[in-house]
């Protein structure tokens, strides 16, 4: 039951905010996947979206603006047994934090990123975020936006994310399924969520999306899955082209899945098999109540390259 994942913290988002839908979808997804709250870490940046972890009964790490992915990377690598989900704003993940966003894709570390795309900086009162189109003027802007937008789907695919999808905050059940698939996927996953901001964004509203959204899975012939290495480039290119569709029709659903790529965890384990046996964070580092796990004799052997036997 999703209610298992609720906390008693009052949700202080504006009434009607799309973020409510996102939290609900997350809670449902966690419940349906039967994840233990104790083995789950929900990590966020700063922004309205950044408050998410406080509303979810699971380990919650509300970090710094743009840095959620960096924190999550450390958590996951230190303990790969944890399910790690990052929840962040469009400003957070694609503006100040874009270096980490790209880096995660390049690593294909098994982390799911949920991107609250409301086209504005909510918590600082509605400035343009990196996803707002040039020329757009939501009510919070004094003049039309003069920067071109970034395309989260295209950026994710080209950065190497191996699961890339888009959902809509108001379609909670559909979004929930995307989140479930993203978490179930092994490797870096992005779920972009179109999230109406009722207070500052009067362009991309529920009304706006209502008639435009359609589901990729209902599109005849749409198959986002890479089924052999040979298909990789073509499927990636198709996903990118698809992601440019924004106007009368806007697709949601799964854009790209590459189940063939090695995860970062696997790449490390190849070099350092110990990694996959006991998570680094859970390895004993001392014994007998305080002696280092490495004895002096072991130290001597480990670092024999540095030791000189004196024959004075």
């Amino acid at each position: 039951m999703a209610s298992r994942f609720r906390t008693d913290v009052w949700i202080d988002w504006c009434p009607g905010c799309g973020d409510f839908g996102i939290v609900a979808a997350m809670q449902k997804a966690f419940a349906e996947l039967n994840i233990e709250p104790e083995k789950l870490a929900v990590v966020s940046g700063i922004g309205c979206s950044g408050k998410t972890p406080h509303f979810i009964y699971a380990n919650g790490v509300h970090t710094l603006h743009g840095r959620g992915i960096a924190f999550a990377t450390g958590i996951k690598l230190a303990n790969p047994e944890l399910t790690v989900v990052v929840s962040g704003g469009d400003g957070d993940l694609l503006g100040i934090g874009v270096a980490h966003f790209v880096a995660l894709g390049r690593r294909n570390l098994d982390i799911t990123v949920i991107l609250h795309n409301n086209q504005v900086y909510g918590l600082t009162k509605g400035q343009a975020s990196p996803t707002l189109k040039k020329g757009d003027k939501p009510k919070s802007l004094p003049a039309p936006n003069i920067q071109d937008p970034v395309n989260p789907i295209a950026l994710a695919v080209s950065s190497g994310y191996t699961f890339v999808a888009r959902g809509y905050a108001m379609w909670v059940d559909h979004l929930k399924e995307l989140i479930k698939a993203a978490i179930a996927h092994r490797g870096s996953a992005l779920v972009e969520v179109l999230q109406p901001c009722v207070t500052y964004n009067d362009l991309y509203t529920g009304d706006y999306y209502k008639d435009r959204l359609y589901k990729l899975e209902e599109e005849p012939g749409w198959d986002p899955v890479v089924r052999s290495p040979a298909e990789l480039d073509e499927k990636a290119a198709r996903a990118i082209v698809k992601s440019m569709e924004w106007g009368e029709r806007i697709p949601v659903g799964v854009f790209f899945v590459n189940p063939l790529a090695e995860t970062y965890e696997e790449r490390i384990a190849k070099r350092n098999p110990g990694f996959s046996i006991t998570p680094p964070a859970r390895q004993p580092i001392s014994r007998n109540g305080g002696e280092p796990i490495i004895s002096k004799e072991e130290f001597r052997k480990l670092f024999s390259d540095y030791i000189i036997i004196v024959r004075g």
Binding site: I46, T63, K76, L77, A281, Q283, E291, Y306, I308
Partner: protein
């Protein structure tokens, strides 16, 4: 001789680092103590670099000084740079084939340096050519040994049966052989050192042994072994030959490091490279654990991912120098706010900004004490030498976990790059203390329980459900702006400073070196320790008895002890010794105790403080000067 000082010069990329390693290993093998420093430009190939090495028969050296007994030069630039570093009666080994090389032909020398060398050449009446300089030196009491490196290589190639071009690759061993010859170092030690370095590639071993022996013989045949060291009396059976980076890296591993994130930067990278090499902790095929070493996209990711790993329960750290640390301060504050045991190893280099990336300084103390907005407790520990650095790396983790604070372990480029012969650490001194870290817990837990200053800390994955936020939070880790919670939670955190101050003995935070009879005091920290102690020894021989106060932990600052020591001297007999311009540690002393140290011996050229210049500076300060600026070193 009781000890020898040697300088080996050559251009960056020409192999002098390996030469120095071999020479040092051989000396240690033969029973001597060794300390060497490497100076180099921020450049990959072509600029001048050199090794400055002290070998002692009676002790493990702890400082460097000038003049040297021997300058062994691989190229002309090294001679032009260092001819005046040799003592009267000392030796210069150079390549006779370069005799016609002119100063102005050395394009890799920076114009400022060239202009100065030009002046020096004039002053001693030397011409512009290397040969003329060598001659002039003879007149000044320096024995110039001009070898034809070309012929040496030729005969070496012939003996080994390889092509001359290939033989050139071994050129840097010429200076090793020359030094070995002059020092009268036995060949077994040299062979041992070469095997140690090239053991896995026997052909290389063989070649190097041959070449060094050949040159040693040639030198000996010319001048004998005038720099022969006394029989060693140090008495260690085994020694580690390590840089400061190595010492810290090993300390962390023994201390239980499980996550190291880094972004490449001089002079910190080498520590992380050591961790990469030992990530599998494999001893005789068996693994004692696994360290995740992550090269991140930038330092922001490095620090924040290390915090993440710490939250999950790994002993986690990141290593960097100034530019990187500057990018980490926001993360540092989050760790402070969230009572996270994070260790940042901070190697100071020459600042500000990119500064002198490959040179040293002690100019980041105040920054490390006050970095990040807002107020939160931290610990700042600085190590005085390699062995301290090893222990302190472990101590840093213990403090971080016991008090749940970020710890900055402050080192510098001097220590990082100096290679020393270090005794194996004493295992009985090593403890792993994890404080109230919990690896098993259950359900939702008040992570920031106010009932104790340090709340139990279940790690993520322990079975607990906990929350963290950089916002002010309540005991559960949820945001609250309530003023009373703020009042209490802020103070709860801040109180850890008092707690640390109460629990960590002041004697471990400031070390007072005194025989009880001194009438002046040097106050120093970090790598000034060695030169300060050695300078004091020399000064005492001249009848000036001084004590040394080593400031080791700057936060929590040992204010009572420091106050007591300083006030036991006349105010004008207290001297701060620091490698910076602002006398930063003195400022910290004033801030905590009100004692304003008015006499300063400072250096900020990026080169280490040498014993002889400190001796001079202290004498002048005792004679009335208020500020002495040291500047020796190329």
């Amino acid at each position: 001789m009781e000890e020898a000082l040697i300088l080996i010069g050559g251009s960056q990329g020409s192999g002098i680092e390996t030469s120095s390693l071999i020479l040092s290993s051989a000396l240690v093998r033969a029973g001597y103590g060794v300390l060497s420093n490497r100076e180099y430009y921020s450049n990959i190939v072509g600029r001048h670099s050199y090794i400055h090495l002290r070998a002692s028969s009676s002790q493990l050296p702890r400082s460097l000084t000038y003049p040297v007994d021997l300058v062994a030069a691989l190229d002309a630039e090294s001679v032009f740079f260092h001819f005046d570093d040799v003592r009267r009666g000392g030796f210069l080994v150079y390549d006779r084939d370069l005799s016609k090389t002119k100063l102005r032909g050395i394009i890799s020398m920076e114009p400022e340096s060239r202009a100065r060398v030009e002046g020096k050449l004039k002053a001693i009446g030397a011409g512009e050519e290397l040969g003329s300089l060598a001659l002039a030196l003879e007149g000044l009491g320096v024995r110039s040994i001009g070898l034809s490196y070309g012929s040496i290589i030729s005969s070496f190639a012939e003996k080994l049966g390889i092509a001359r071009a290939e033989a050139q690759r071994f050129r840097s061993s010429i200076v090793v052989g020359a030094a070995a010859g002059l020092l009268g170092l036995r060949q077994e030690a040299l062979d041992y050192a070469i095997d140690r370095r090239f053991g896995r590639r026997p052909a290389l071993s063989k070649a190097n042994k041959l070449l060094t022996a050949l040159v040693a013989e040639e030198v000996k045949s010319l001048v004998g072994s005038p720099l022969r060291l006394d029989e060693p009396s140090i008495g260690e059976e085994e020694l580690l030959l390590v840089s400061g980076n190595d010492a810290v890296g090993m300390g962390k591993i023994v201390g239980g490091l499980r996550y190291q994130a880094y972004y490449p930067i001089t002079p910190a990278t080498d520590e992380s490279v050591l961790h990469e090499t030992y990530e599998a902790l494999r001893v005789e095929g068996e693994s004692l654990g696994s360290i995740v070493v992550l090269q991140t996209e930038d330092e922001i990711a490095a620090v924040n991912s290390a915090i993440g790993a710490a939250l999950a329960g790994a002993r986690a750290s990141t290593s960097t120098s100034g530019p990187g640390f500057s990018l980490m301060v926001e993360g540092l504050g989050w760790a402070g706010m969230n009572e996270t045991p994070l260790v940042i190893t901070y190697y100071q280099r020459g600042g500000p900004s990119t500064g002198l990336p490959t040179r040293g300084s002690q100019s980041d103390l105040l920054f490390s004490l006050f970095a990040s907005h807002g107020e939160f407790p931290r610990a700042v520990i600085s190590s005085g030498d390699h062995l301290e650095a090893f222990y302190d790396a472990i101590w840093a983790f213990n403090i971080a976990e016991k008090y749940q604070v970020p710890v900055i372990h402050l080192l510098d480029k001097f220590l990082a790059n100096m290679v020393t012969s270090m005794p194996l650490p004493d295992w009985s001194k090593i403890r792993i203390e994890r404080g109230s870290t919990l690896f098993e817990a259950n359900g939702s837990v008040k992570r920031f329980d106010k009932s104790s200053v340090v709340s139990p800390r279940p790690v993520i994955g322990s079975g607990a459900v906990i929350w963290y936020t950089g916002d002010e939070h309540n005991e559960w880790g949820h945001i609250t702006e309530d003023p009373v919670n703020r009042l209490e939670m802020y103070e709860k955190r801040y109180r850890k400073l008092q707690l640390m101050d109460a629990e960590i003995p002041e004697e471990e935070r400031a070390i007072y070196y005194s025989q009880g009879d001194e009438d002046f005091l040097l106050v120093g920290w970090g790598s000034t320790k060695g030169p300060a102690l050695d300078a004091l020894r020399e000064l005492r021989e001249e009848g000036l008895a001084g004590a040394f106060l080593q400031l080791k932990v700057f936060e929590p600052f040992p204010a009572r002890l420091v106050s007591k020591v300083i006030s036991s001297f006349k105010p004008d007999r207290v001297i701060a010794v620091e490698a910076n311009i602002g006398a930063q540690a003195a400022k910290v002393v004033a801030m905590h105790t009100g004692h304003v140290i008015r006499k300063h011996a400072l250096k900020w050229t990026g080169r280490p403080i040498y014993t002889m210049e400190l001796v001079q500076a202290v004498k002048r300060l005792l004679a009335g000067s208020e500020r002495e600026v040291m500047s020796y070193g190329k």
